[in-house]
C-alpha cells in the first residue's frame, strides 16, 4: 500500500509533527516507563527496546510525511541464561508493537517444539500452520527454538516446521512477528546450522545475568508485590543468600529469586503458626525475619539447589 505513486503527492501536506504527542498517542512513553519500573536491570535490553520503539515511531511519521518508508523487519531473537526475563520481555514487546500499530492485534502465542512438530509424516505442516494462524496479527514466541533442529536426525520433522516458519517470516512480515528465545550457546549453534533464520532476524538481543545487587532489588520488588517486606536484618541475610545461591548448581537468576521468595513465605507462615498463643498485628504479617531466610538449605551446602532445578 506504500508504493502507490500518487499517494505521496496526496498526503505530503503534513510537514510538522509534535514528537511528544506522537509518542504519547502511540502509548510508547507509558510502556517504556513501565518497562523501566517493573523490570530491574537489563540495561542493554531496555536500550534495544527503546531503539526499536523509536525506529517504529519515526517510521510511522515518515510514512505520513510521504517520505520513502519500508516496513522494518521485526523478527527477534532473545538469548540469555534461564530466568533472565526473556519471556517477560517478549510479552511487553507485543504491547509496544501493538501500540505502534506494527502488529494488528497484539496477542502473544507462546510455543515450543511440541506445539509445532508432529509425530508422523503429514502431521507437522497442519500443526505449524494452526499455530501460525493463531499468531497472525500478533507475536509468535518460540521458546527454546533450537529443539526444532535435531542435527543427529536428518529425517526429523522439525525441519519441515522450520521451512514453513522461514517462508512465513519472509512473506508475511506485516502479519506477524516471530521471537525466538533460548540459551546463548545453543542458539548460536542453532543459527549456524539454520542460516535462513539468522538472516531473517533483525534484532539479536542478549539478556545478561543479573548482578547481586539487582537480584536483591528484584526480590524486594517481588515481596512488595505480594505484600511483604524484609526487615533490615533479613535484608542482610538475603544478601548473603544471593551470594551463596549464585555459586550453587541450577541457579537461574530471577526465577531462583522467585522460588526463594515463595519458600521464605512458607517459612514465615510456619514461624507465625508455630506459636498459637500470640496476637498478631499487621507488621507481623508483612515482615520477613532473618530466621525465615537463614533456615534455607542454601546456607548448609545447597540441598535447596536440587529442588529449584525445576522452576
Amino acid at each position: 500500500m506504500l508504493d502507490v505513486p500518487h499517494a505521496t503527492t496526496a498526503e505530503s501536506s503534513e510537514t510538522n509533527f509534535d514528537l511528544r504527542k506522537e509518542a504519547e498517542a502511540a502509548g510508547i512513553t507509558d510502556t517504556l516507563q513501565q518497562l523501566e519500573q517493573e523490570l530491574i536491570g537489563l540495561r542493554p535490553v531496555k536500550n534495544r527496546v527503546r531503539q526499536i520503539a523509536s525506529l517504529l515511531l519515526i517510521e510511522r511519521i515518515r510514512q505520513r510525511a510521504g517520505l520513502a518508508s519500508s516496513p522494518p523487519t521485526l523478527h527477534m531473537s532473545f538469548t540469555g541464561n534461564p530466568g533472565t526475563g526473556k519471556t517477560t520481555v517478549a510479552l511487553r514487546m507485543a504491547k509496544i508493537l501493538h501500540g505502534l500499530g506494527f502488529v494488528r492485534r497484539g496477542q502473544v502465542i507462546s510455543v515450543t517444539r511440541d506445539d509445532l512438530v508432529g509425530q508422523y509424516i503429514g502431521h507437522t505442516a497442519p500443526k505449524t500452520k494452526e499455530i501460525l494462524k493463531k499468531a497472525m496479527g500478533g507475536v509468535l514466541f518460540i521458546d527454546e527454538a533450537y529443539y526444532l533442529h535435531r542435527p543427529d536426525n536428518e529425517r526429523d520433522y522439525g525441519q519441515e516446521a522450520i521451512e514453513i516458519l522461514l517462508q512465513v517470516m519472509e512473506n508475511q512480515r506485516e502479519d506477524l512477528v516471530v521471537v525466538l528465545a533460548g540459551y546463548g550457546e545453543r542458539m548460536t549453534s542453532f543459527f549456524a546450522s539454520n542460516p535462513g533464520f539468522r538472516s531473517r532476524i533483525a534484532h539479536h538481543i542478549e539478556f545478561p545475568d543479573y548482578a547481586e545487587a539487582e537480584l536483591l532489588v528484584i526480590a524486594e520488588l517481588m515481596l512488595r508485590e505480594r505484600g511483604y517486606r524484609l526487615s533490615a536484618a533479613a535484608r542482610e541475610a538475603f544478601e548473603k543468600y544471593i551470594a551463596l545461591r549464585r555459586t550453587q548448581p541450577f541457579f537461574s537468576n530471577a526465577r531462583s529469586i522467585r522460588n526463594a521468595v515463595d519458600r521464605i513465605r512458607l517459612r514465615q507462615a510456619d514461624r507465625l503458626v508455630s506459636d498459637l498463643n500470640r496476637l498478631l498485628d499487621v507488621a507481623d504479617l508483612e515482615t520477613i525475619d532473618p530466621a525465615d531466610v537463614l533456615a534455607s538449605r542454601v546456607f548448609s551446602g545447597g540441598a535447596d539447589a536440587q529442588r529449584s532445578a525445576k522452576p
Partner: protein, 135 residues
C-alpha cells in the same frame, strides 16, 4: 451466467482486501469462520465440503486468508465460500455466507416447469450439462 448465492452476490466479486475485512468482522464478533468448497453449487445443496476445521480461535483475518489461498490453490476450479457461524445461545446458526471463488466456467441452471393435476405447477431446478453451458 453468474451464480448468485449468499451475501454480496449481486455485487462485483469481492477483492481479497474486501474479503479480509468481512472475515475480520466475523472474527471480531466471535463467529467461527469456515471455508467450504463444492463442484455442485445447486441452490438446494447445502452440504458443501469443508476445507479444514472451523476457525474459531483466530485473532486476525490473515490466518483465514492463508487457508483460503491454499484452498484456492487446490480447488481453484470450484466454488468456494466463506461462512461465519455464531455459536452464541439463541443464534446457533450461520450469520453470514459469501462466495470467494468461482470456477472459470460457471455452472448453469435451468428452471423446468411441470403441469400437474388442477393446473398446479411444479418447478425443478436442473443443472445444464457442461458441454451445453460452454456454448
Amino acid at each position: 451466467m453468474k451464480l448468485t448465492q449468499g451475501c454480496f452476490s449481486f455485487l462485483p466479486d469481492l477483492t481479497d482486501e474486501q474479503i479480509t475485512k468481512q472475515v475480520q468482522y466475523c472474527l471480531t464478533n466471535g463467529w467461527a469462520v469456515n471455508i467450504e468448497f463444492t463442484d455442485d453449487p445447486h441452490p438446494r445443496n447445502t452440504y458443501w465440503e469443508m476445507w479444514g476445521l472451523p476457525m474459531f480461535d483466530l485473532q486476525d483475518a490473515a490466518g483465514v486468508m492463508m487457508e483460503l489461498a491454499e484452498c484456492r490453490r487446490v480447488y481453484g476450479d470450484r466454488y468456494i465460500r466463506i461462512s461465519g457461524f455464531d455459536s452464541s445461545h439463541g443464534w446457533e446458526s450461520v450469520r453470514i455466507s459469501f462466495l470467494v471463488n468461482r470456477p472459470p466456467q460457471e455452472a448453469e441452471f435451468e428452471l423446468v416447469r411441470q403441469e400437474v393435476g388442477g393446473r398446479a405447477i411444479r418447478y425443478t431446478t436442473i443443472r445444464k450439462p457442461a458441454a451445453h453451458a460452454s456454448s
